[in-house]
Structures are given as structure tokens and as C-alpha cells.
Symmetry: C2
Amino acid sequence: MKFKVKLFPIKTDKYVVVMNQSDADELGLLEGDRVKVIYDSRNSFNATVQIAVGMIDRGEIGITSCIEDRCIISEDFEVKVVPVPKPKSVEYIKKKLDGGKLGKDEIYSIIKDIVDNTLNEIEMTAFVLSSYLNGMDFDEIEWMTRAMIETGETLSFERGIVVDKHSIGGVPGNKISLLIVPTIAAAGLLIPKTASRAITSASGTADTMEVFADVNLHIDEIKEITEKVGGVIAWGGATEIAPADDKIIHVEYPLAIDPKPQLLASVMAKKGAIGARYAVIDIPTGEGSKVPNVEKGRELANDFVEMGRRLGLNITCALTYGGQPVGRAVGPALEAWEALKAMEEKRGSASLLEKALGIAGILFEMTGKATNGYAYAKELFESGKTLEKFMEIVEAQGGEKVKSDDIPIGDKVYKIKSNFEGAVVGVSNQRIVKIARAAGAPKDKGAGVYIHKKKGEIVSVGDDLVTIYAEKDWKLDNAIEVAQKEPPILVSGMILEKYPSYRYV
Amino acid sequence: MKFKVKLFPIKTDKYVVVMNQSDADELGLLEGDRVKVIYDSRNSFNATVQIAVGMIDRGEIGITSCIEDRCIISEDFEVKVVPVPKPKSVEYIKKKLDGGKLGKDEIYSIIKDIVDNTLNEIEMTAFVLSSYLNGMDFDEIEWMTRAMIETGETLSFERGIVVDKHSIGGVPGNKISLLIVPTIAAAGLLIPKTASRAITSASGTADTMEVFADVNLHIDEIKEITEKVGGVIAWGGATEIAPADDKIIHVEYPLAIDPKPQLLASVMAKKGAIGARYAVIDIPTGEGSKVPNVEKGRELANDFVEMGRRLGLNITCALTYGGQPVGRAVGPALEAWEALKAMEEKRGSASLLEKALGIAGILFEMTGKATNGYAYAKELFESGKTLEKFMEIVEAQGGEKVKSDDIPIGDKVYKIKSNFEGAVVGVSNQRIVKIARAAGAPKDKGAGVYIHKKKGEIVSVGDDLVTIYAEKDWKLDNAIEVAQKEPPILVSGMILEKYPSYRYV
């Protein structure tokens, strides 16, 4: 059937066509069915059917104007619409739902259809949940990883040893990449780090780095900068590296799930795609982080190492303490400030420096750069080479040299003070993040939380526990309300049941 | 934040608001997040966020104009938008995903949010898949059934015994309700039958009945007609009886799954909501139907009986032969013709009459109307009382008295003939449906397939196997193409591997 086009200015993951009910019935189409839209006598695209109410007459078709940045159709087009069958990959998803093991080609076809936006949300959700509930074996995870790499852009370097690090997330204030990348690059290794933006956290590494420089880099810019200065901190979302991952996250987010097969494949695909030969995986462990205890952490670590073996990638996992935020600052500008301040002063929060230099050290030992990696990392850091390299990277990414105290922090400020005397027995990751987000993070770069007292520290009545920063009064008010309803710092005496008392980190 | 409204004429299950990326960032909103849209200073509705590309400036908001038939907002509105948290029911879905057992209130909250369109497709899919993969116990299924009844309209009759029948589907040509309902009503029982339209089949009972009369009846019309003539055949989708069901089907359809807990709850809720005290569940069993073998059929039958016991509803299940179509006609008008012809001539296809009168008979025995129910049903049918009552029902639903030969059938006709000599060893349910749908069914009432030779029948070279009917030439061509690619009738000699040889039904 032929239709006259009406445009809808909605950005969708895939083309949606909006049809009159009678036309849809005529073609035997139900909402959610797929059609091929043929325009221009030769060109076509696939789209999903929605039923219109009013304003779309018979013979007319509404089309969402663009997917991502591609806009092909305009109002004066006449198009032909033909129903198309469900893609084969839906059968494979069904097979996995029913407990079957997928073959290499079947997984490839699913990942390809995810990347091409051929699958709808229901089908995507079914895929993710089938592996959440039925799991995948190592073969399947390996094939999924390879499919994710192959359906996206990849990097390769003519010379040099490429390394990487990845944190599986779940602990706030984890600005360690800002210290690790320049330390590694300062030692002559290559580290083309792609990082994420916050989804549910207060700041992703990409958000934090953006305080200093542009992070929306294309893959050839990442390559060029890495070849020039040894390292880069870019937003992975601006590249087409393992693009299936973002689309999978889109359906995981509403359900707050992160199935292990997808987690493993996503991390390994990103490392594989940039051509890394050595990588450290940071697995924050402890109450309120993604991995509740060391046993689970070890299990996951084993899986990562096995996947590395299969993909020819040398993996070491670092189980790190994730029971409270890393360092004291949470929020893009505050974290940027804390990281830069540490580089400038060559000292800082023990949890931040030990973790960052410890992970850099592991990479030095894996690559044979040093026998005592931590000592070597510390030496680079204390000699000022880390800071120097960081500024080179910032400038290569189009930023300017700055001092930590020049970084603008939100000027709406509120301090939460202690009404009790005692010791801090808990700093809640979730509550700190909730307050920082209510204050405006990650969108308002200057918004966030500074933690004055961490676990094990002694508190007197009237002492500052946290300071909330915001750029807008109403957001500060929101954040204060959140903090008062759910206090982020627990001082002994406030609660009946005491938390296990961890050593101050 | 305040916004100026721009309207989108798209019918959606729930309100969607389309925002500028910067406004969404400002409010900390991601695609798929929920907001409350406050208009008119007092009134508000919940909506899901989508991100615009172009044409929506900062401070503007696109709103889909209507959900279902309610359209509240117009262009000149100014609205306030506030983020709202995920509904509690998402937590419960998560609990079920993780293998937990849901409580009564938790299930109610999920079903209520499904009915209110509060859950998005990803969350709905997660709910359906959690019970597909983790199952539900009888408590949970009972609570889900009760929740489905309570969140919709219900019927009750001051006097009379209310009975019902339900076929779980999967076998084409199953026009038995057109014979059962008038037979039952002719005996003085009440049978307010709500039926479905075809989703993937060639004709639902509602589509077939629509050939004779209006099936879009409101619940009070269903009551009124049942009280007047004893029976009705209405489209359930026009009522608000167990409305959760349609919404659940919406996410089951793309995955072609029908989890047992949802199947049980959906059927039982519909029977419970109309106040039935006795019901027969028809479970078509056999190759190419929903239930592959008798063992599975018995299992399902046990579950239905147990659910009936819990809900105070007397259930008998009939395992019926579903390995080939019921009767010989498939498609709305053809099926209407076959049913009416049988009533007029008091004879017809054995599979149709045995099944319809058998099920009516079971209801007569359950209610104590007869000790030999089948004989009683046959007597009513052969005396002409079934036909007489059917015409009363048709007229009560606004239709006119017709003769079977007045029913218009598609005039584009093609006969498929046998190239072989032998016996029919298979009639494929799926292929017959595929041909009928390609020919235009169920939208084109006159389209469908007539089967000349069924299993066990002897075929000579040149004999008609099936006749395809269509209303349009191009659809007939499509159907012929489908039939040639995937022949619906298997004659021995055409295939190497022989099907089990069933007795002719």
C-alpha cells in the first residue's frame, strides 16, 4: 500500500510509523508489528507500527523523523509499506528463554539485531531476562563478547603496549581513573580509556573528566590522542565501541538488574575493542556496593579471568573495599577537584590514593614495567609526573591547564552537623548518591556532597558530617530534605543495632 | 518546571511526554522515567518521558493527546512537570524475577498498575517472563485471578444458573461457541459469553459472530440480552471485564508465549467476572495445537479444576482433538456459514457437531439439566431449537435473520488440487491459518480457506484439497503463494517421513 508521509519530530531508537486503524487492519498489522517502508523507489528502512488516534487519515502515515542522527524522510515523500516477518533472532531469544544453549551464529544474530534497532523493547527485555534467569555458559558469553566487539568500532595501535582498567561500579566517589590513566601513560604504556556517564550514580568518570576537557571524542581522536600523549579519558557513548551495550543497559535500567553474562560481555567487549592486552578489573565489594561479599567477588573475578583467557586478554581482578565512598568528594566538580588537589599536593585521602596507585601498580607488574608496581606508581605520583601527564591529556582533549582551586563548585551550600557524640559506623553509598543527585549532580557539575567524617572517625556534637553543594536554591532544598529523611552518616548511639566496625580506610 | 504543551496525535497505552534534552537533564530525567503532569492547577496524570529531536524547544513539552478514549489536554495548556519515583510494583516484579513468592497485596498492586497503565513495556515484560520462567504457585495464581476480577467490571444475575465455556485456543475453525451458546440458552441456562477476536489466528469467535450481529457490547447490554434471551456472544475487548488480560497479551504476543499462570488466571478471571457457577474448559490437544499431548493436557486440566475449587467455580475440562482444524471452514464468514448451515440442516462435519454438542452436554450434566447431556444437546439441536435460539440471540444483538447461503463469501477463489494419489496424513493448523490470513482474514470477513480433505480421507490426482477465498485479487495472489511454498495438506507419497495416522474426525 502507498501512503503520504506526515512527520513526527520524535527521536526514537528505531523508526516508528503511525497508521490509521483501518489501514493497519487492511495490511493485517497489529501495534508493534514490523514493516518495511520503501521510499525513493529503491531505498527502504524497517519500522515498528503504532496506531494513530485522529489526525492520521487513511492513506496517510506518520513517521518519526529521525533515528539517532539520521533523518532521511521529508513531508513530501510518498512511501510504500510492506509487512515484514519477525526477525530470526526472536526465535533464538525464545530458545534461550526456554533454557536452551545458544550457538555462535544465533548470539551474533541477536546482538546484530540489537545494534541495528531491529528488536523492540519487549524482545530486548526478553533477551536480557533470559540470561538473568537462565544464565549463560562461558561459550555463550565468549560469543556474545565477540559479537559485541564485531558489531562496533575497534582500535588498534601499531606500537606500544595497550592496557586498560575497568570498575564494575556501585561505589560513589570512584574518581580513580583520573589518577590511574596519567600514571600509566607517564610510564610509557598506552591507555585509551573509554568511560561512562552517570546513569543512576552522581558522576561517571566521563562526567568528572568533562569538568576539565571535552570527552565527546570520536574513535580516531581517541587513537590520535593516545598515540600522542599515551592516554585519554573519553566518553564511550560518543563512540561506536560495543554499541550493543548501551542498548542493553536501556532495558536493564528500569528493572535495576545487571545479569552476569551481560556484565562480563560488556566489560570484556570494551577492553577487547580498544585492543588492550592487559586489564585490571576493579570489583568494589561490601555492603551497599554491587558485590555484597568477598566470596561473590571472587566468583566474579574467576569468571573475568576465564573470559580473558578465552579472548587472549590478560586479566587481573582487584577486589576493593566498596562499603563507603572512595575519597571524600561525590559529584563531578567536587570529584575533579579532589583528584586534581591530590595530584598537586602529592597526598590525599588514603582510600583514593591507595586504590588508584594500587591498581596502576598491578598493571605495571602485569606488563613487567616494575616488580613492585605500587612503589613505582607512588614514585611517579610523588615526582609530579602523574600531574604533568594529566595536564598533557587535558590539553590534548581540548581543555586548559587549571589549578584545583579554580574549579567552580556550587555556591549554594548546606552543612549537616552531628547531634551525637560517638564514632561513625556507617556511610551509606545509596544515600550519599541520592543527596548528590537531588542537589543536581551529574547535570549540574558543581553539585554534590563532601563527606567530612567516614567510618571509624570520632565525632563530637556539632561537628560537620557532610556538606551539600548545589548550583540552584531549589535543588539545595530538595537535597536537604532527602538528607534529613535519610541521614547518610550513621554515628553510634543513633542506632540500636551496630554495624560491623570496619577499619578506617 | 513549567512547560507549554504541543500535542501529538498518537494513541498510546499511557501518556508519553516528549521533552527537550536540556529540560530532561535539568530535571534529572532519563528516557522511560516517569513524571506527573499537573494541569488545571488541580488535575494531573502520570506520563513516561521521551526525548525529542528538534521541534521541541526548551520550555515546551510534547504530549500524546489521548490514552484510549480519554483526551484531556489541549494545545493552549501550560503544565507543570514533576519527576515521580518508580511504582512499588516494580519492586515486587523484581522479587518474582529473583524467585520469591508474591503476597496477595503485592500481586494486586502489580495487576492494578498494569490496568492503570502505570507500568512500561519493559516492566510488564519482566512480570510476564518472571512467571514464564519461575512459575507461580496456586496461591499466587488465585490472588492474580482475584486481582484481575476486582480491577474490572463484573456481572451478576438475580436469577438463573450462569454457565460458560472457554477454549484455550490453538486450533483453527473452532466455531463451536456459535452452536453451544444457543443450545445452552435453549435449555434455560444463562450463558453470557465473552469471546476474543483473532490475534494470530484466522478468526476469533467474536470475528465470526460479527458476521451476524454487533459484538461490541457494553457490559449492561450483555446483561440485558442474557436476561432476555438467555445467551449472548460478545467481544470481551469492548468490555472492561478483567482488563489486565488484554494488556498482558500485548507483551506476550511479540514473544509468542503464554505462561501457564497468566493463562489460568486470564481464563478463570473471565469466568469469575461474569458470575459463572459452572464452566467447561476446552483444551485442544495434539500436534500443532497449544497442548502437544494428552499428558500435558491432563496437567493443565488439573490446574484449572484446582483453581475452580479455590474460586468457588465448578470446572470440567474437555481434552479435545486439536491436531487439525475443527470442521472444514476457516475464516469469519466461512465459519459463520458452516455453523449456520449445520443448524439449518441439522447435520454437518462430525468434528464440529460432536465437539460442540459434547461440550454443551457436559454443561447439562454439571448443572443437573440432563443425565445424558450429549443426547439432550443433540435433541435440542435436531429439534431446531438451537437454530431458533441462535436467531433470537442474533436479533437481540442487532443482527438480522439470515440463511447460510446469504452470507457473503469472498468472490476471488482458487482451488488447490492434489498431484498425488493416496490418503491425507496431515492438515497443518499453522499453514491453514497462514493461508487464510494472507487471503485477508480476519479483516476481510469473506476471506478464508475451505478444507475438502481432512486426515484419513482418500485423494485421487486432481481432487480439490482446499479452496482459498479472498475479497481482493492481490490478497488471493499472496495466499496462493503462501500455499504453494508451504502446502497445508500432506498426502502420503509427498513426504518421506509419515505422520502418525489419526482416525478421521
